[in-house]
């Protein structure tokens, strides 16, 4: 059954994408490690680190696309799941520092010694084991998503309201993680990592391995996402997105469907965060900033929501653009990003990949699509009203 599940996921484009990702996972580290720095084919370490970062962002965008593009839940709090995964990884890396910190305390990370703490808080227990930390990378974001979604979907909080409370969630976490007494390093976050699984995080080989890991995890998550969306469950998911009430009347438990997707998506985001942290070398509360989560929405929108490849392309393109602009013309980056937001919503509502898939429909067809969408929304009202009356 599982094989069938996976096999169904292997649609043409997904196969190509996964093949490319695996190729990248092999080729880029190879070009970085095996070629001499003078060679034309050489990929410098900083470029590889940058690309590794993009891949993590791409995974985050994929996670958001799963809930937004397929389930219609616009989460403005996905940065929170990303950061939580990152913190779980960061905690593991902090524990690996051991007595090599500035204060040389074998048990406590530097910031706790600095705050005059005497013993490790209970929630830091177990993070010295890699396996436990990796479990937490999945469990912590998943649990938060479960609790949050369980309440929200059961009370049928949806649309705009859901977006706003997810934003409130990440904002509350931002404020919470800024506090020193939380035990997560406060303002400065977690940094100064030494090694991961016994390998120096700064070493070229470790970096190459982390990069390869990012590409492979992205490929793996893409496979899972594809399997989900191409299964029967995936069809229902799209049904929930397009006409939630109708799916409910057909007898599906919409809240459970949403909850499952939301939790899976949060776990993807957690994985992305966990891969991100050792590559950039720091995790701090800034990752919870609501603006970050909104930026993820843009990557997804640019690439094309409702397509699995789109968000990956969108995240990589926008971030590559960001790296270029902030380096070359720092003052116009925000103009470019803002313009991109507006242009994509106005002219490319399907995003890059979506537009290519549907062929370049002219403005007319676009307008028709918008009209149809409007009509659908308007049409949905009486149905919903009848239900309300029936209830």
């Amino acid at each position: 059954m599982i094989t069938g599940f996976i096999l169904r996921a292997l649609e043409g484009k997904i196969v190509v994408a996964i093949a490319i990702l695996i190729g990248v996972a092999i080729l880029v580290p190879a070009l970085n490690l095996l070629t001499s720095p003078d060679s034309a084919l050489h990929i410098p370490t900083y470029a590889m680190a940058l690309m590794g970062k993009y891949l993590c962002y791409a995974l985050l965008a994929l996670a958001l696309d799963l809930v937004w593009g397929y389930c219609g839940i616009l989460s403005l709090g996905h940065g929170a799941f990303f950061a939580l995964g990152g913190y779980a990884m960061g905690m593991y890396l902090m524990r690996q520092i051991g007595s090599r910190g500035t204060y040389g305390n074998p048990l406590l990370p530097d910031f706790m010694v600095f705050l005059n703490w005497k013993e490790l808080p209970w929630f830091w227990y177990g993070f010295d084991h890699f396996a436990f930390a990796m479990l937490m990378v999945l469990v912590v974001p998943g649990l938060l998503a479960f609790v949050f979604g369980w309440f929200a979907f059961r009370s049928r909080v949806n649309g705009v309201y859901l977006s706003i409370i997810t934003q409130a969630m990440t904002y509350a976490l931002l404020l919470a993680f800024f506090r020193n007494d939380m035990g997560f390093g406060g303002n400065n976050g977690l940094t100064d990592f030494k090694e991961i699984l016994g390998f120096n995080v700064q070493a070229g080989g470790t970096r190459a391995a982390l990069f390869a890991m990012s590409a492979i995890m992205l490929a793996l998550c893409l496979l899972v996402a594809s399997a989900i969306t191409r299964s029967k469950f995936g069809k229902v998911l799209v049904g929930v997105r397009d006409a939630e009430s109708r799916v409910r009347f057909l007898g599906f438990r919409v809240e459970n469907i949403k909850l499952f997707t939301f939790v899976v998506s949060a776990m993807f985001a957690g994985i992305a965060g966990a891969l991100f942290v050792p590559q950039v070398g720091i995790i701090n509360p800034g990752e919870f900033a609501p603006a970050n989560s909104i930026e993820v929405v843009v990557w997804t929108a640019v690439g094309g929501r409702g397509t699995l490849i789109g968000p990956i392309i969108g995240a990589i393109l926008v971030n590559a653009g960001k790296s270029y602009f902030t380096g070359a013309f720092p003052e116009i980056w925000l103009f470019a990003l803002g313009g991109l937001f507006i242009a994509v919503t106005l002219f490319l509502p399907r995003g890059i990949v979506g537009t290519i898939q549907h062929g370049f429909a002219g403005r007319k067809a676009l307008k028709a699509a918008v009209e149809a969408e409007k009509g659908r929304d308007a049409g949905a009202v009486p149905v919903a009203r009848q239900v309300q009356a029936a209830e």
């Binding site: 616009l74 949050f148 309440f151 929200a152 059961r154 009370s155 049928r156 909080v157 649309g159 705009v160 309201y161 977006s163 706003i164 409370i165 934003q167 409130a168 969630m169 904002y171 509350a172 404020l175 919470a176 800024f178 506090r179 609501p290 603006a291 909104i294 929405v297 843009v298 929108a301 003052e331 116009i332 925000l334 103009f335 990003l337 803002g338 313009g339 991109l340 937001f341 507006i342 994509v344 919503t345 106005l346 509502p349 918008v370 969408e373 409007k374 929304d377 308007a378 949905a380 009202v381 919903a384 009203r385």
Partner: protein, 535 residues
């Protein structure tokens, strides 16, 4: 303590009424000091004090400091100040200069502690009996703040003469405070404790608690009762102060959210650029103030009044352009308005940053917004007071526009049923544009007010956007009253959580409570009924 005592009286006198004379001329009395021994000097000082002539105060102070001299030649008494090798002589009554003499030509009038006490008493009596009401009041207040047994006789003498009801009341209180530190009888002290219990206030509480260890055991019960009474009253005032802080924060939230109540609440646009409209309003204030500073400094107190229409027009115009240029293509796709308006907000931020730079801009407070005034046991600053008044007036003005004007009628009609409104001949695109412009304009006005209490920087809007959405969603989308109640209750809730858990945790708790509240009532406190809820 004596130093403070004197400084206090000196300060009081530095703004006292012009010289005033009654009773005997103090000048000959001063001259008698030249031959007097300590005992005689004491009675002379008392006589000087009974003259009631407040011009003698500096001379008496100089006497206590040992700066009073008499001229050997004619035994005339002067205040002397060192001027190089010589001494400046100053007339003790008129304070006119009487020339310079060599140090050998004068003799210091000696002073001892008993005499100093007498002088201090005389000084206190002089101010307590000053013909100027405000000086008497200030003197009584001074004794209230730093009571002493020595002042008691003076206060009692002053009470006997006092005719002004308020001042007399204050003096009675000062007397009660002084009795406790004197060696009067227990009954008098008991009465004093009761007076202080009725008086209340932090200083009374402090005095009562400080004497509680030394006081006669038989008075202990009365003392505790009085302390308890004051504490209860104090708690009530603390509560009132907290409510006020809450209302004040709530009014800031209301200001920030009220424009959003139109663009998001009424129109359903997730306007992420709302915070930037507030920011534009604040920068309009800055520009207006700069223009006034360089061209018409005299108008500075009017700068906010001038900035209000300017900010409204600027942000309203920006809102109009944004609606016509971007948002009108996105009706029916609320989640995408979020993206587009977020883009607008980034562009506006960067534009302001490019023009004015990334640093905070200085926006001044006009004089009528500075300072504070006491209200019972709490202190209210004028700028907070004005912001509360201002936000409520904007709220009610908006309510009138929505409910009573033709434009408001059109606006509500378009919101409730666009097609029907259009069929009735309402130009819906025009109404959309004006509504969005109105919401943006109000955000701009809010920016004028917020520029008074917050840093004016390109990031100003970012700090308000989440709070604003919380307020509107909590209050109930599409309901202005909900926004008012939401803002005030969130403000008060925040301020009540703050003392026990701290500011940041308080804010986190409020956010969590809102998230939970939305689960219970997904449409907010005051949900709209009917079709609008499905939009």
């Amino acid at each position: 303590m004596p130093i403070r005592f004197f400084t206090l009286f000196f300060l009081i006198f530095s703004f006292a009424a012009p010289a005033f004379s009654q009773g005997a001329d103090p000048k000959p009395l001063f001259n008698q000091l030249a031959d007097a021994d300590f005992g005689q000097a004491e009675s002379i000082v008392a006589q000087i004090a009974t003259s009631g002539d407040i011009r003698v105060v500096p001379a008496l102070e100089a006497f206590a400091e040992g700066d009073l001299y008499f001229r050997k030649a004619d035994k005339a008494v002067f205040v002397a100040k060192p001027a190089g090798a010589q001494l400046d002589l100053i007339d003790p009554v008129t304070a006119e200069s009487a020339g310079q003499v060599a140090k050998g030509a004068v003799t210091k009038i000696r002073v001892n502690n008993t005499l100093r006490r007498a002088i201090r008493a005389a000084l206190g009596g002089l101010t307590l009996m000053s013909p100027d009401r405000s000086v008497r009041l200030a003197a009584a207040d001074a004794i209230l703040l730093s009571p002493s047994a020595e002042a008691l006789d003076l206060v009692e003498a002053a009470i006997a003469k006092e005719t002004d009801r308020d001042v007399k009341f204050r003096m009675e209180e000062a007397r009660a405070v002084s009795v406790l530190s004197s060696d009067r009888s227990l009954d008098e002290k008991r009465a004093a404790i009761q007076t202080m219990g009725n008086l209340g206030g932090r200083s009374a509480l402090g005095i009562l608690s400080s004497v509680s260890s030394t006081i006669d055991p038989s008075l202990k019960a009365d003392l505790d009762a009085a302390i308890k009474a004051i504490q209860n009253e104090q708690q009530l005032w603390d509560l009132a102060q907290n409510v006020w802080y809450g209302v004040s924060l709530g009014s800031v939230l209301l200001l920030a959210a009220i424009g959003l109540a139109i663009t998001f609440g009424v129109m359903g646009i997730i306007n992420m650029a709302h915070g930037e409209m507030v920011m534009l309003g604040a920068y309009s204030t800055y520009v207006v103030q700069e223009v006034i500073r360089s061209h018409a400094p005299g108008l500075f107190d009017w700068s906010l009044t001038i900035a209000l229409p300017v900010a409204f027009l600027v942000t309203g115009a920006v809102g109009f352009v944004v609606e016509r240029g971007i948002i009108r293509f996105l009706y029916g796709r609320p989640l995408e308005t979020l993206l587009a308006t977020w883009g607008v907000s980034l562009i506006l931020q960067q534009t302001i940053r490019s023009i004015f730079g990334p640093t905070n801009k200085e926006v001044g407070n006009p004089s009528w917004m500075s300072g504070s005034f006491p209200l019972g046991g709490m202190t209210i600053t004028w700028n907070r007071m004005w912001i509360v008044i201002f936000s409520l007036s904007i709220f009610f003005a908006l309510l009138v526009v929505m409910k009573k004007s033709a434009f408001g009628l059109n606006m509500r009609a378009v919101t409730q049923n666009r097609r029907m409104a259009s069929s009735m001949g309402i130009r819906t695109p025009w109404v959309d544009a004006l509504t969005f412009a109105l919401g943006s304009g109000i955000a701009g006005i809010a920016g004028v007010a917020l520029s008074q209490i917050d840093n004016v920087s390109p990031n100003l809007g970012q700090s308000y956007i989440i709070d604003s959405f919380m307020v509107v969603v909590f209050g109930g989308v599409g309901n202005l009253w909900g926004t008012l109640v939401g803002a005030l209750s969130l403000g008060v809730l925040n301020k009540f959580l703050e003392p026990s858990v701290g500011a940041v945790l308080g804010k986190i708790l409020v956010l969590v409570l809102i998230i939970l509240f939305i689960q219970k009532r997904p449409r907010g406190l005051f949900a709209l009924k009917g079709r609008a809820i499905e939009a």
